[in-house]
Amino acid sequence: MSDSKAKEPVAAAMNEIQKNAGTKKKVTIVVFSGELDKVLAAFNIATGAASMGMECTLFFTFWGLNVLKKNDAKNTASGLMKRMLGRMNKGGSQRLPLSKFHMRGLGTWMMKKLMSQHKMPTVDEMISLSKELGVQFMACTITMGIMGIEKEALRPEIDKFVGVVTYLAEAQESSVNLFI
């Protein structure tokens, strides 16, 4: 076998790599949790990915939707159970508890203090930074329905109100897909 023939598959593989080099890599993150620490982890990955030139989509669902609730949103849910849920699960970027050591707010307050000492961005700052970097925000309409959350109660940074199919279509094209 001649030398040039042996190199052909390698050359073909290299061509493939070079072709793919031009296409953008994608990250999709399901933000299911509504806790400060987990949400910040999601935003860290999202802003890092966007800074690496990757396309990034955050899909906010269930407790994660609390991140995108306005801090001064009115509880407009109808029906006893939804109203009760809205009252106990107020949400809002500034109200997210820690997943550990919340201690009726004391632990979370201390963690926020530590984070600001280390110049870590707040959730609000992470939301605007993500938008500046072109991160796409999707809100889960199923959660909105169950919890009685109206569009008006959510922040304007949301790009799309979608169901699971749109998320899956995005995830299918992504090389990184996380559930937080």
């Binding site: 890092g48 800074s51 690496m52």
Partner: protein
């Protein structure tokens, strides 16, 4: 005065500097990505950071974004990373 840095056996001129002291991951990378867009292709950026992770992260970031990682100098927990904008 013009700043230069010795990397290997080369002397490289530094065109711009980015102060990321005290910032934690991913902020140095986020700021670097923004700063690199401000300098010209071919110019050298110096990133000053106290984040240990930057030593590993910056070469990877450069490789992923198609820029040239020149090297890193460290002293007393301070890291100075040098990279050249290529794209």
């Amino acid at each position: 005065m013009e700043e230069t840095v010795e990397i290997g056996d080369k002397t490289i001129k530094v065109d711009a500097e980015l102060d990321c002291f005290g910032l934690l991951c991913p902020m140095p990378i986020v700021k670097t990505a923004a700063k690199v867009k401000e300098i010209d292709v071919g110019q050298v950026l110096k990133v000053a950071s106290t984040d240990l992770g930057i030593k590993e992260d910056m070469p990877v970031w450069c490789a992923e974004t198609g820029n040239e990682f020149l090297g890193v100098k460290e002293a007393d927990g301070e890291y100075f990373v040098y990279l050249r904008r290529l794209v």
